[in-house]
């Protein structure tokens, strides 16, 4: 239920009631409510859950997480390599 899918905002619509946008999920386009991300602009990535945008995703944070995991992975590869050497 709490599954959310990252998508890209490609069009922001003027609508009555709540603010809506068109979201591109890797080629599939769907409408979603962006009332909770007033700062969002076209080109931003957001997690959509039940047709509702939960946040604006941070690419910088994502890349930092991946580089941290890469470091952990490298250290373990090195440890394994050293064990084999011994």
């Amino acid at each position: 239920m709490c599954l959310g899918i990252p998508g890209k905002i490609i069009e922001i619509e003027q609508s009555i009631g709540v603010k809506m946008a068109k979201i591109d999920f890797g080629g599939v386009i769907r409408e979603a409510c962006i009332e909770a991300i007033p700062e969002a602009k076209i080109g931003d990535y957001t997690i959509i859950h039940a047709g509702f945008a939960l946040n604006v995703l941070s690419e910088q944070e994502a890349l930092e997480t991946l580089s941290l995991l890469q470091e952990i992975s490298d250290i373990n590869n090195e440890l394994n390599f050293n064990e084999q050497e011994l």
Partner: protein, 369 residues
């Protein structure tokens, strides 16, 4: 955006997965029991076989974070009573169709002619109400903090349109009170939590600090991709092994300490905390979000006068114990024989997030079962 980067697939990199699993193996010296709160995480763990590549000392137990599973039987029977009425179009997320009530399910009602529509979003139900002014449109507003803003936006939208034929049957629940209920149970086995990433995307994680301190339990905000889950597990084990207990964030790209304050404001505009009964667990004080009195016109329980409906659970199903991490699905006598996805006894066998359904789909042939 960097052309080699993708918000989903970059977090499925097999080389990195191997490296992080190695690190988890290297630092784990004792047996530990970790609970993932969210049913979406349970499914990802089973789907990617993450439980199979972790050290044997680690046990992952599955939490109550499946809204379909914890929606009380009373409320499901009320949904059925409303959906069976001839002037009603009953809108629901697809997961609810097969959830057994005490005598039927929405799927069977639909087969008998009830107008039941599966919607992707609560806003879609508002659209159906606009298009069918001579019908009563009822949306089954189940969900955790992740879904509550979407449910709230349907009410804001319906009010803006001045719709008099739209209402919602509310069964919304919040995670922190459920965590406290699990931790304060005498039979609790959980030593660390992976908090539900998308709940935290909305609510932040400031609410978890007092829980972590009071019960001395590490809580790690965790996402849904394999590397997210492994990073969450790694952070939890680091804390368990070093005897610390703080709240950490392993889902930085999506979650901040304060969460999405605009979404929280939307929730609070329409809903307020209330006591809520959790299927299989019982009533947890202030664990629900009910409609504020100024939105009472949108309350389906009052509009259709179904509040009096009360019902009894099946005796054989151990869903309650599974939802609290006390038992695994294969410890249920009905699992895989009497209770299967096409004939579920309890909600965890129905939902795409239920632990029983995850075990049935992904692990029926594993050795331990």
């Amino acid at each position: 955006m960097n052309k080699n980067f993708n918000f989903s697939t970059s977090f499925r990199n097999s080389q990195l997965v191997k490296g992080v699993v190695e690190e988890i193996k290297r630092i784990t010296t004792k047996p530990w029991t970790i609970m993932e709160i969210c049913g979406g995480q349970t499914h990802a763990i089973m789907q990617y076989g993450i439980d199979q590549i972790l050290p044997k000392e680690l046990e992952l137990v599955h939490g109550p974070g499946c809204p379909v599973c914890v929606t009380p039987l009373d409320q499901i029977d009320r949904a059925h009573a409303i959906a069976a009425q001839t002037n009603v179009i009953f809108c629901t997320f697809g997961d609810m169709l097969r959830v057994p009530g005490s005598s039927t399910d929405l799927f069977s009602l639909k087969a008998h002619g009830a107008q039941i529509k599966v919607v992707y979003s609560p806003i879609d139900a508002v659209k159906i109400a606009q298009e069918n002014p001579d019908k009563q449109i009822v949306f089954f507003a189940i969900g955790f903090e992740t879904t509550i803003p979407a449910n709230a936006s349907s009410i804001i939208q319906a009010k803006a349109f001045g719709l008099r034929n739209f209402s919602i049957l509310v069964s919304q629940v919040c995670v922190p009170p459920a965590m406290e209920a699990i931790l304060s149970s005498p039979s609790n086995r959980v030593q660390a939590f992976l908090a539900a990433g998308h709940v935290c995307a909305v609510m932040g994680y400031w609410q978890y600090h007092p829980i972590s301190q009071k019960y001395q339990v590490p809580i790690v905000v965790t996402g849904f991709e394999p590397l997210d889950l492994l990073q969450g597990i790694l952070k939890a084990i680091r804390q368990l092994e070093s005897g610390t207990h703080i709240v950490e964030n392993a889902y930085q790209r999506a979650v901040s300490e304060k969460g999405n304050q605009a979404a929280q404001e939307i929730i609070n505009r329409v809903f307020e905390p209330c006591d809520r009964n959790w299927r299989g667990i019982g009533t947890i004080p202030f664990s629900g979000m009910g409609l504020r009195s100024e939105f009472d016109e949108f309350n389906a329980e009052h509009r259709f006068n179904v509040e009096h409906i009360k019902t009894q659970e099946s005796e054989i199903c151990i869903a309650g114990q599974i939802l609290q991490g006390l038992k695994k699905p294969y410890q249920c006598p009905a699992f895989g024989n009497v209770c299967v996805p096409t004939n579920p006894l309890g909600a965890p066998m129905v939902s795409s997030e239920g632990a029983c359904s995850a075990y049935y789909r992904f692990s029926l042939n594993r050795e331990e079962i």
